[in-house]
Amino acid sequence: MDDSKIIELFFERSEQAIIELSNKYGRLCTRVANNILNDQQDAEECVNDAYLGVWNAIPPQKPNSLLSFVCRIVRNLAVKKYHFNTAEKRNSIYDVALDELENIFASSVLVEDAYNVVETAHFIDEFLETLDKENRIMFVRRYWHSDSIDELAKLFQTSKHNISVRLSRTREKLKKYLIEKGVLL
């Protein structure tokens, strides 16, 4: 079913909207959640919570991209659940992806007083704009969706080594960019 029709169902408050949403994007949402939580049951709970979140959000919201909208809710809930569950069990793909990013920020000092999370995110947006489409997608899939290297290799039809090298270069570029912008010292 077309996204716009699913959104219409939400506006009509039809429960069929949840079924259609689940049929169309359920698998993808579960994967996003599972990448972060590394637990299928938690991931499914998270996705169900996300459906409720979508139900409550639409209306009044009318997202341009239903997929992106749902994924963001799923990710937010998954990250919250992750922090709630444990900070010690670091064994998910999400942890590995975070570790990679942490290396950038840990090696430099973030001017936290000057730049809050939203502003830093804005600089990252600007940085992403400088990347070519493929590297940008790869970066987002890795650090937002928490896709594994293996999944990315399949998605981009290349080797895992190639993915790792390209991500590493992108991180280095990001680090330089943030230093240039004065976000990192």
């Binding site: 922090h83 999370v117 937002w144 998605l155």
Partner: protein, 272 residues
């Protein structure tokens, strides 16, 4: 910056990038490219096989055409097919049990055929050999053998049980067979004949032994002369003799009407 803040920062990147990445379906271009590589590799392999195999097959064919040395014929008028028959050769006998191999006598071939309207016609060339009467023939694949002796022989098989008991029957099932120009799988031979076949037909089995590429017997031919069918085989190039050792290489299976072979023993399949 701690992990939570990093996560939170990444979470707040522009939705358009998230959307772009979420909806990305992969590189279709590379998939087709990979498919091209795959099929290209298959084509290259095929070309290599043809390049290597064609001269080999051609060589075998050439040898088939060039190395006739002597012949066997069947010692009675027999019907080998709808169009041709085999002439009687009653004078040359050496009693032996069925499935024995004839001992070539060195006698010249003679034509006593009387039943066919095509009697006394000239010997056709190998190109005109009626392959319909050659039910099976093997080529191209030979079992490796250390046996340096090369022999060629023939035997009449009249029933299915005899065929199954025929020496190395099972071994033949390991090869590919060329049936009237069409390659069959390795089990074609075993599956080609059953008890029903032998109700009216018998087989003349012509075989080689020691199919070493250096030593294996020169290819055979089947010619017709009037009502006579001549199965041509070769002698051992190393010792110039005929005989039988270990049967390892089947040359021809010729189906004939069983009625026509009545009274003929294997020993009467002899050197013409």
């Amino acid at each position: 910056m701690n992990r939570e803040k990093i996560s939170e920062t990444i979470e707040k990147i522009n939705p358009k990038y998230i959307e772009e990445a979420t909806e990305y379906q992969g590189k279709a271009r590379n998939i087709s490219q990979k498919a091209w590589y795959k099929w290209g590799a298959v084509a290259a392999c095929l070309a290599l096989v043809l390049a290597v195999g064609f001269p080999f097959i051609k060589n075998l064919n050439d040898r088939d055409q060039s190395s006739t040395r002597t012949s066997f014929s069947i010692g009675k008028t027999v019907q080998t097919g709808e169009e041709q028959s085999i002439a009687a050769e009653p004078s040359q006998t050496a009693s032996a049990s069925q499935n024995d191999v004839s001992k070539p006598s060195g006698q010249p071939e003679t034509n006593h055929g009387t039943e066919s309207s095509s009697a006394n016609t000239s010997l056709p060339t190998s190109a005109s050999v009626d392959r319909e009467n050659v039910s099976f023939y093997l080529e191209g694949v030979a079992e490796l053998s250390n046996d340096p002796i090369e022999r060629t022989g023939a035997v009449i098989v009249r029933d299915y049980a005899a065929l199954k008991e025929f020496d190395h029957f099972d071994a033949y099932t390991d090869y590919k067979y060329c049936v009237n120009g069409n390659w069959k799988n390795r089990y074609a031979y075993a599956n080609a004949f059953d008890e029903d076949f032998f109700k009216n037909k018998a087989l003349i089995v012509v075989f080689d032994v020691s199919p070493n590429s250096t030593y294996y017997a020169r290819p055979t031919q089947i010619k017709t002369q009037g009502t006579k069918a001549i199965v041509t085989v070769t002698k051992n190039p190393s010792n110039g003799e005929y005989g039988m050792a270990q049967v390892t290489y089947l040359r021809y299976l010729i189906s004939v009407d069983k009625e026509a072979l009545e009274g003929i023993t294997t020993a009467e399949v002899h050197k013409a």
